[in-house]
Symmetry: C2
Subunit: 218 residues, 2 copies
């Protein structure tokens, strides 16, 4: 039994390690974009390899726990949540890598003004990643709910940035390629926020046993 | 034991039912977009509710199987794959609903030319959804690999449509809002293709026991 508790903790620590890498990748990819910092962009692409290896390690660990320990009830919910969270984290890592790649492309085109407040949106999504994982680890219902609220704020930011970028393209067609790139960056940040929201929902299900997904739609 | 086989089959049938709904939602959402068909768009939004309920039912079923049957090896890999595939299908349903919502917005703006060949991209992604689920159900390695190949084709299509849309915006700034909408629709189709690719990869892992994710990146 002590062995099992140790293994569950190991699984949790691997997820936290992965979340730390994802969080710093988001921050660094946006930094690379804003400051045209190619070195930083390449560092994010290297980190993606580590994130991908961690994803496989976490899956292996979770499946072994299911197979060897035949956990029940609460532990079972923890392990199935871990499998889902693992996938969400890996896809966030993909999004950060994709922002880093975009920043390398944009660096080729030379320096440019930032047309919208990407760093603000990035800070909010980073904080959602951190809070969703903290909520999972501490089984903190309130913290998980705060992530759902932030997701609404991200949606509002995205809509206003979307409108601002379209207006700027119409005023000055020369900025179109760059504005489209930035628009797609805001979509990637929004996807990261969506994944953090999924983690918060899985956490709420794990803690309360109540499925909060699809509250309205379902 | 017979009971267990029956339960596994039930899980599989629920996934197939969900995949069928997702596939038809993709087709109908693109139809709604191209033909400005508001009724079709609303039908897709209604289907999303059914897809979301199925997602919860499938998760329940999978977790119960893990808890009550304590499956080993091959069955365990099947059930964990089912949990992941369930998530992918639900997110594909979100994307189709999002295309349907976009088509309602665009219908308000009145009739418009299609600037790029969205239906072609949609047909390819639909076929990826169908093939990835067929590959999973039949444990068909070759079919799963065909999905990975189609994903490269989707990426090529997306890149060429992206370039065409930017050129058209630069030529005629009046089309910018519509072109941006279509650009985002191509991104949603690309995300659906990515989810189908994830299903194909999970299928290959289940069938071969070899993890084909991150072949290069990892």
């Amino acid at each position: 039994m002590r062995h099992f508790v140790y293994d569950l903790e190991k699984l949790q620590n691997l997820l936290l390690e992965m979340a730390g890498l994802v969080e710093s990748s988001i921050r660094r990819s946006v930094h690379a974009l804003v400051d045209r910092d190619e070195e930083e962009a390449r560092a994010v692409l290297q980190t993606e390899g580590r994130i991908n290896r961690l994803e496989m390690e976490i899956d292996d660990q979770a499946i072994q726990l299911l197979a060897l320990q035949q956990p029940m009830a609460k532990d079972l919910r923890f392990i199935t949540a871990a499998i889902k969270i693992n996938t969400d984290l890996e896809r966030m890592g993909d999004m950060a890598a994709s922002i880093a790649e975009r920043s390398l492309e944009m660096a080729k085109a030379g320096p440019a003004r930032m047309l919208v407040d990407i760093p603000r949106m990035a800070r909010l999504t980073e904080s959602m990643v951190r809070r969703s994982l903290d909520a999972f680890v501490r089984r903190d219902e309130e913290l998980a709910r705060s992530v759902l609220e932030s997701d609404d704020e991200v949606d509002r930011l995205r809509t206003s940035m979307h409108q601002a970028l379209i207006a700027q393209m119409q005023q000055d067609p020369a900025v179109i390629p760059q504005a489209v790139d930035l628009l797609l960056v805001t979509r990637r940040l929004e996807r990261i926020a969506d994944h953090a929201t999924n983690i918060a929902e899985d956490t709420l299900f794990m803690v309360t046993g109540v499925d909060v997904r699809h509250r309205v739609a379902g």
